[in-house]
């Protein structure tokens, strides 16, 4: 077979524009015709309790709800394409860091007028943990409402601890001692996550702030950040009490090792309770506060809902927000899947206080902090987190010197934030 130069160039030209298309092509527009109410939702959050809310909403407004489910990265790609095309959904669930970002970029609608009108009746913001209102506000106005509230705690295998005569560790030093004692044949004392977001509890406990707006510096104090990173790398490479994490888009590796009885401890949140119980019903799960260092802290996380600025019927969107965040629905979702919730009244429910796992989270929420807020308000959160991922994996997976990587990260992140 032979190809002329023209043929080959033609093929080359056609093939080479694929990335260009990938960069600029938008997703097909959502169904926003009259009578359809489009919601973008996380694929793992399609609960029966929410389906009941949707049915009530459809009946009340004579609309058909088009619930489109995505994994977070796909949801973001789709949403950004929608923002570019101007055809947006009526409501979006987001993973906890997008509300301020999209408020800042002019893509999210302020909900303050609705909050002023209906807030008192729905208990917003009075009944929501203050940090959850703060992370969904921009320039004093509310842009999103927290739907789920989560944080990371220490999950441990009770049987392994009892067998070794150990108690859950309360400090980093104890964590290392306990992990060494539990590491053995095909079992690691702890399994660290490859996902950089699991770095935050360690940094918060070391007293590190992601960004200081006054000085323009990231990761302050720097030495404390280096210490937290060195400690994690030490667990993997020096003491070998954690397997080397593997870079991927999946953050469930440690949970799978834990459920298989191959890791005695993991640091994770309530999203891993159900998978552990489903795959290993005999595993005795213990949940304890995170071992602390200079401070007792964990990362505040969880999803929120917001309304895109160009949503055609914001009053309808707001009504859906009200319905899906009622105390009754929160309680139903907790009963259904054990999800933890942002209302302060939720933390006081008897069902929560009497459940050891839920209570552990409810008690930890007052110590939970959102580390990303200061960075999000710079408008450079995406660049910051991409650089953070590289730094974290270079240290924890590739065992590169923490100080050197931290310095490289700081220079690049500060430059990005300066614009």
């Amino acid at each position: 077979m032979s190809f002329t130069r023209r043929d080959t160039l033609r093929l080359a030209g056609a093939a080479s524009i694929a990335p260009l298309l990938a960069a600029c092509a938008g997703a097909p527009p959502p169904a926003t015709e009259s009578g359809t109410f489009t919601i973008y939702w996380n694929a793992g959050h399609d609960y029966k309790a929410y389906r009941e809310v949707i049915a009530e909403f459809e009946k009340a407004h004579q609309v058909k709800v088009n619930l489109q489910k995505y994994q977070w990265p796909d949801l973001r790609t789709r949403l950004l394409a929608d923002f570019s095309s101007g055809t947006v959904p009526d409501l979006v669930e987001e993973p906890g860091s997008w509300v301020q970002e999209f408020a800042l970029s002019g893509n999210a609608r302020s909900l303050q007028d609705f909050v002023d009108k209906d807030g008192q009746a729905m208990g917003f913001p009075a009944d929501w943990l203050p940090a959850t209102v703060e992370r969904n506000s921009y320039k004093g106005e509310v842009y999103g409402v927290q739907l789920h509230l989560t944080c990371q705690l220490l999950f441990y295998n009770k049987k392994m601890f009892t067998g070794a005569g150990l108690e859950p560790p309360t400090t980093w030093a104890e964590l290392l001692t306990v992990a060494k004692a539990l590491t053995g044949d095909d079992v690691h004392g702890i399994a660290l996550n490859q996902d950089y977001t699991y770095l935050w509890p360690w940094l918060l406990q070391a007293g590190v702030r992601a960004y200081d707006a006054e000085t323009g510096k990231v990761m302050v104090p720097r030495e404390a950040a280096a210490e937290a990173l060195r400690f994690q790398a030490g667990l993997v490479h020096e003491h070998r009490v954690s397997p080397v994490p593997v870079s991927s888009t999946d953050y469930s590796g440690p949970q799978k090792l834990f459920a298989a009885g191959r890791a005695a401890m993991i640091i994770t949140g309530p999203w891993d309770i159900a998978p552990i119980k489903q795959t290993s019903p005999d595993l005795e799960l213990g949940i304890a506060p995170l071992p602390s260092h200079r401070e007792r802290a964990t990362q505040l996380a969880g999803t929120s809902v917001f309304v895109p600025l160009k949503a055609r019927r914001p009053d309808l969107s707001w009504d859906f927000v009200k319905r899906i965040t009622t105390a009754r629905v929160e309680q139903a979702v907790t009963e259904e899947v054990g999800m933890t919730m942002p209302r302060t009244s939720w933390a006081k429910l008897p069902e929560v206080r009497q459940n050891a796992e839920l209570k552990a989270f409810a008690d930890a929420f007052p110590h939970a902090e959102d580390p990303g807020s200061d960075v999000r308000l710079t408008g450079h959160y995406g660049e910051y987190t991409d650089l953070l991922k590289t730094m974290y994996q270079n240290i924890v997976i590739r065992n590169r010197p923490a100080e050197q990587e931290l310095q490289r990260f700081a220079e690049a992140a500060e430059k990005a934030i300066r614009g």
């Binding site: 093939a15 080479s16 990335p19 260009l20």
Partner: protein, 293 residues
């Protein structure tokens, strides 16, 4: 005074030809050239909405950005490894399966199946095989008393090159097989009569006459290597660190993580220019080395 001349025959042919071409022109215009124009235009703007004109600012920024340089270098190494591997393995398999072996059709089909599978499925498959803690391979190695592998951590770029080759080598093999079957047997017979060994015949007849196929394979492999995305996205997420930060994956992150569509568009245009440059150089070099008997 108006003249009412009848259209000439060639004019009528041209009109008919344009009518037939119109759907293709429309398709390429809407789905190829308009987006390219859009990307070119976006590459001169900046901001989350790509609404502030910055001229060639994004191009200057890319030229000075160490992350762009790194992604380009990673992609270059990846592409060259894929090109070399595709040619060597594809040709070796084609030579083997060009022999009158029993079951060679089944072998050919088996080797082509991965090429027909989506990169997402192939990526997930190998991710699940190679995962050091949870993967199948280490379980098998353990059963055999062999030490475990951690290639996704220790040799991530080589690993995604190997997966890419595993997926694509069947297609390359088919191209080389077609090329081999296009070489007249008379050349080999004449060489045999002259006492040429099998090795000499391969170097002096087979390989030179496969030059057009080799050129095509290398051009396509360079293009697909420079455009590779799924391997980094599915298997390694660009990591560990930035070890597998392929250029298109980097562009994707700039666009959809950092929301810098202007900058990502500029990088897309730069990639297009690099691909065109590589293709032209390869074609010129290939033409120079082409042999006719």
């Amino acid at each position: 005074m108006l003249s009412h001349r009848k259209p000439t025959l060639s004019g009528r042919y041209a009109r008919t030809a344009y009518l037939f071409l119109a759907p293709a022109i429309l398709f390429f215009g809407v789905f190829f050239f308009l987006p390219i124009g859009n990307v070119l235009s976006t590459s001169t703007r900046t901001g989350p909405q790509a609404d502030r004109f910055t001229g060639l600012g994004n191009y200057a920024r890319a030229a000075a950005d160490p992350a762009v340089h790194h992604a380009f270098l990673v992609t270059l190494v990846f592409s060259l490894a894929v090109v070399a591997g595709s040619i060597v393995l594809g040709l070796a398999l084609a030579l083997a399966l060009n022999q009158p072996l029993r079951g060679r059709v089944a072998f050919r089909v088996a080797l082509l199946v991965p090429y027909l599978t989506s990169v997402a499925i192939v990526g997930l498959l190998w991710r699940n095989i190679l995962d050091p803690q949870l993967g199948v391979l280490n379980r098998v190695l353990g059963e055999l008393g062999l030490p475990p592998q951690e290639w996704l951590n220790t040799h991530p770029l080589a690993t995604i090159v190997a997966v890419t080759l595993w997926q694509g080598v069947g297609y390359t093999m088919v191209l080389f097989l077609a090329g081999l079957q296009g070489i007249p047997e008379v050349y080999h017979e004449a060489a045999r009569v002259d006492g040429a060994s099998g090795w000499l015949r391969f170097w002096r007849i087979t390989l030179p006459l496969l030059a057009p196929t080799t050129l095509f394979v290398s051009v396509m492999a360079v293009i697909s290597g420079l455009q590779a995305f799924g391997q980094a996205y599915i298997i390694t997420n660009g990591g560990p660190g930035d070890a597998t930060d392929l250029f298109v994956f980097h562009i994707f992150q700039v666009a959809f993580d950092s929301r810098d569509f202007g900058y990502s568009s500029a990088q897309s245009v730069l990639l297009l220019l690099v691909i065109v440059a590589f293709t032209v150089v390869q074609l010129r070099a290939g033409r120079r080395g082409e042999i006719q008997y």
